[in-house]
Symmetry: C2
Subunit: 226 residues, 2 copies
Amino acid sequence: MASLGGQTPENTKSGGLSRIQEKNRNLILDAALGEFSKYGYSGATVERIAAKAGMSKSNLLYYFSSKGAIYTAALAHILDVWLAPLKTLDPEGDPAQELSAYIRQKIEISAENPQASRLFANEVMQGAPQILPVLETDLRRLVSEKSKVIMSWITAGKIRQVDPVHLIFTIWATTQHYADFSIQIKALTGKDLSDEDFKLQTERAVIDLILTGIGLTVPDETAIAE
Amino acid sequence: MASLGGQTPENTKSGGLSRIQEKNRNLILDAALGEFSKYGYSGATVERIAAKAGMSKSNLLYYFSSKGAIYTAALAHILDVWLAPLKTLDPEGDPAQELSAYIRQKIEISAENPQASRLFANEVMQGAPQILPVLETDLRRLVSEKSKVIMSWITAGKIRQVDPVHLIFTIWATTQHYADFSIQIKALTGKDLSDEDFKLQTERAVIDLILTGIGLTVPDETAIAE
DNA sequence: GTGAGATTTGACCAAATGGTCAAGATGCAA
DNA sequence: TTGCATCTTGACCATTTGGTCAAATCTCAC
């Protein structure tokens, strides 16, 4: 379970957040995601985040003690969602089904929330100052575990012999690229993942290339659970 | 030819830069690349760039009229290098040789200059405020041209039927991922592209996966020109 | 050697920005 | 209704930072 030690606003005697707190924290985190992903940590301003969240800067600082705290919270907020799909890779399942479902999930998430993808990319590109510990523990464990799943498929002769880690990296790289570089994608093709047709076309192309690359035939489109 | 309209320091009556100007501009651009790629545009400070370049802030501002001008110049400085490899794809060549050479080149460049890769990624992720015009013209033309090359290989029955544009995107995504996310790579594998063995292993893995993915057999390692 | 132009710098300025604080507004349990 | 805790805000402050400027220093053709 990825955790980043978020600080609850220092009020409310007992555990739970009040109705107002719940609402405002979410407004702030949404706004923060937009700003941080668009301008980077330094480029984002507390003032703009507050405005986007529909409150004064002072009030925002009432809920989060500092800009850094907002950033950490926003990152923590998306981290689980971002890393979750990999957990579903099932060793018992059919490799073609499992991997195509995984790739499709990643692309779907990239399409739904490109901002989260960019925030994550930004954080990692700048040296992962906040989430390095999570990468080194939780994610590392997860990748190691899923590599074994892929290895088991190899030894069972179900897929070609490939390096599982590089396979995972390739899947991450490719799927996230369409979110992170969507401006470039759009400049070159006129479309991006927000276009439903383009998204499906992308899913097909990526799944086709990677599955073929590991020696599988692509499962029939209609046989795949949405 | 990608161009971003760089401004020559407003001195020197005739065209060429003086020896000192040449040297200092390069010092500045190198320092700027490091800072911008590490902290993003807003996070980088003119003061730190100047310090890294071994001169005072005032002096730096003597060579570049503003922070934005440094950024634009740094971007222009790397753009050609960054986009060049694709130009070498030769329609007459053997697809396996051409594509593996291209992939190898991209990884080589990513390894040599991960900062340039991150600067480029940063720029694009933030909406490509500076280089969008270049993407929409030069790069678009180039991709269109090279897509035709790949198409010709398909119609000649040399490779499987794949979408050329998505193939190019996949190659970009994968190769750049190793530079842009090197911290994550290192957190998960203990190594990154600066490790010679890991670099070769990565080249082999990526080339193997993609070439196989488009229906080619991977050319013998020793048969490839360095 | 000398002087004009190129180079370099410290002092300084204005704007932006993260954060504090005291006071006022609001919600809510009794 | 009342009183207290929660919530909200504008005024304010200190620091950072991009950029200016005049003066000092250096370079080099003559």
